[in-house]
């Protein structure tokens, strides 16, 4: 009797977490809804690329397919590693022939809800548009799209899968849509901070809760860009990382004086494992990030006026880092549904 009650108790304790994360063999389209979002991925997927299991699985396979690079040496997964939250542990990614990229590869969690533009400079308005650019970029996969399509069209298995997913064979449009569909399924919503936001106040320890309070305080102002629940406001800001002569960021697209050094605000999902940080991968640790913010950035006059010296103590910095680490979603980092098929 006691064992039954104990078992029931243990099962109940695990129930909230178990219910919030899909089973390892669940469809890719079984997607949790992270806190802070009002619409599911299925609801916000574009009408011309509604999310289906066939499309997501095809996109997953293509994500790991090195035929999409000129010399067949790399795939999307070469620079977006699942164990790193689909980020790249190198400051700049290496493309074909070891060509060095310009910026740090962003992590890929929860991009389904981005409406303001993808890449660090927002130049791709949709996931579909974003998906094709690294394939053709000469510093990355360096393969013209017509050649990528031709490789897929030459494989009957690929043709069948595209037909099943889109009713047509591989072409630029369906290739990009498949990859976008897979990326939409990459949703992280099972960190300890998620449990805390869902009401489990024991999910964060004392240091993490102190760090959270600092994060959400006017004193640090972190929440202005990295909101309380979504951890990003999807805006473009100069957070003090810009240096004279450095990457102009958004300004290269808009030409506006005020857009100098502005980059997309990434969400902080799994930030513990997505180092290095910033658009240029210049900060290798969370400690370095906090220190840069603590001193008010690198001092360039283009820095956003909200960035100021914080005068955080060593303990406060440690608390902030502890909180940031609570955003790690170990299920997301190891989910076999996102791994190479």
């Amino acid at each position: 009797m006691f064992q039954n009650r104990l078992l029931a108790f243990v099962l109940m304790m695990g129930f909230p977490v178990a219910c919030s994360s899909p089973a390892p063999d669940a469809p890719l389209t079984e997607i949790p809804l992270p806190a802070g979002f009002a619409e599911t991925v299925a609801q916000i997927a574009p009408k011309d690329n509604s999310l289906t299991e066939a499309r997501a699985q095809l996109g997953r396979r293509l994500f790991y397919d090195s035929r999409l690079s000129r010399d067949k040496s790399i795939s999307c997964s070469s620079c977006h590693l699942q164990k790193n939250g689909f980020a790249d542990p190198r400051p700049q990614s290496l493309g074909v022939e070891g060509r060095k990229g310009k910026r740090n590869a962003p992590h890929l969690a929860n991009l389904a809800w981005v409406a303001t533009g993808l890449f660090w400079d927002g130049r791709a308005k949709t996931l579909e548009e974003q998906a094709g650019k690294p394939i053709e970029d000469t510093l990355e996969m360096d393969l013209p799209m017509d050649q990528a399509v031709a490789r897929l069209a030459a494989d009957p298995k690929d043709v069948l899968e595209f037909q099943a997913a889109f009713g047509q064979g591989p072409n630029r449009d369906t290739l990009q849509k498949a990859l976008a569909s897979f990326m939409r399924t990459l949703v992280s919503a099972n960190s300890r901070y998620d449990a805390y936001m869902a009401g489990d106040r024991s999910a964060l320890d004392d240091a993490e809760q102190r760090g959270r309070e600092l994060f959400l305080s006017s004193r640090t102002g972190c929440f202005h860009c990295h909101g309380e629940q979504t951890t990003t406001n999807d805006g473009f800001f100069n957070n003090g990382s810009h240096v004279e002569g450095g990457d102009p960021g958004l300004q290269a697209l808009t030409g506006r004086t005020g857009d100098l050094g502005r980059f997309r605000v990434p969400n902080l999902r799994n930030v513990e494992v997505t180092a290095p940080y910033m658009h240029d991968g210049s900060l290798g640790t969370l400690q370095a990030v906090i220190e840069q913010y603590n001193k008010g950035g690198r001092g360039h006059p283009s820095t956003d006026p909200q960035i100021e010296v914080l005068n955080l103590s060593a303990q406060e910095q440690a608390d902030l880092i502890a909180f940031l680490k609570s955003l790690t979603d170990h299920k997301f980092l190891t989910d076999p549904r996102f791994a190479a098929p």
Binding site: A35, G36, F37, A38, E39, A115, T116, R201, D206, Q209, E213, L216, S217, S218, R219, G221, F223, H224, G227, E228, Q229, T230, T232, N233, D234, G235, T254, R256, T257, G258, D259, P301, D304, P305, Q306
Partner: protein
């Protein structure tokens, strides 16, 4: 061990509750709220402290609140069928007498320059005025559809947001009124909301503390650069919609079935000056932050600086 943390969170929330005057009722104050969940009232306003969080309820039987607007945070705001008139409102953001050029240095009257990096404000509860009577109208978005929650986000960085529409009964009206902010129901929603009230609005505050109503960010250069605030965050985490200043812009305003247009000027320099005006804030306990102090100054002086006007009379 847990109570001190709860108390800290409670004090955080308390410090956001404050007395405010708005709606032309000078002297009407609501005391600083007590512990979370308590209510406080004074004067004739019956103001509340944190009060009850209102979720996304409503629907066809939603309680009608002040001025005829829904008391609930309703996503859909369908226009009554006899509202066959259309008015297009073009927003002109000004710095002095000149259009504000977002993202670029703008010359100011005193010879300084201002580079706006973030200029956002919510407008909602749009109403037409006639002989002292306010009649709510339907706010239309850029697609000429009823705007979600009846809210429009003006964002200087988004040209498309510098225009909104109104659907109303055709006629000639004395003016337009709106609140600079959002309703209490939306401000205290316990559920995540869609655009323009999502996190991408950049207007959400944490701890269920509601939204900013006005967000100004920019840098000044020149000898007077320290006189105006570079960041202004005006919001109202709790309390009734009265905390969102209600503005009346005299017209006339003509609504016709063949759509008419009118230009609404918003003087950003006047907003900045209001945010810097000497103000006795001893009746309220604000969180630290110059931007929050500036925001409270702005709230209290917004009406008197007359930052909103129509550029020219419409042809009736």
């Amino acid at each position: 061990m847990r109570w001190p943390k709860l108390l800290t969170i409670g004090l955080f929330n308390v410090c956001f509750a404050f007395a405010a005057c708005s709606d032309g009722k000078t002297g009407e104050t609501t005391p600083v709220g007590g512990a979370a969940g308590s209510t406080a009232a004074s004067g004739g306003s019956g103001g509340s402290g944190r009060g009850t969080l209102v979720g996304l309820d409503g629907g066809p039987n939603a309680t009608v609140g002040e001025d005829g607007f829904s008391a609930a945070c309703e996503e859909s705001t369908n226009a009554p069928p006899n509202n066959s008139g259309r008015l297009s409102v073009n927003i002109q953001l000004l710095l002095g007498n000149n259009p504000l050029v977002f993202g670029e240095k703008n010359a100011m009257a005193d010879g300084d320059s201002y580079l706006p990096s973030n200029t956002r404000l919510f407008l909602s509860q749009i109403a037409l005025m006639k002989q002292g009577v306010r009649t709510p109208v339907t706010l239309l978005n850029a697609d000429n559809q009823p705007a979600r929650y009846g809210v429009h986000l003006v964002n200087a960085g988004d040209i498309a947001s510098l225009k909104f529409g109104i659907q109303a009964v055709p006629g000639t009206y004395d003016g337009l009124s709106f609140i600079v902010g959002i309703s209490e129901a939306c401000n205290t929603s316990s559920s995540p909301l869609k655009a323009p009230l999502d996190s991408a609005s950049q207007m959400k505050w944490p701890h269920s503390a509601g939204y900013l109503f006005v967000l100004l960010g920019g840098t000044f250069e020149g000898s007077n650069s320290a006189m105006l605030p570079k960041n202004v965050h005006m919001g109202s985490p709790f309390g009734p919609a009265r905390f969102a200043p209600k503005i009346s812009v005299p017209g006339p305003v003509v609504i016709a079935e063949n759509s008419t247009a009118i230009d609404l000027k918003i003087s950003i320099d006047k907003l900045l000056k209001a945010a810097a005006m000497p103000t006795d804030l001893s009746d309220v306990s604000l969180l630290p932050g110059e931007e929050i102090v500036a925001g409270e100054r702005l709230r209290r002086h917004l009406k008197e600086v007359e930052a909103f006007s129509f550029s020219a009379a419409q042809d009736p």
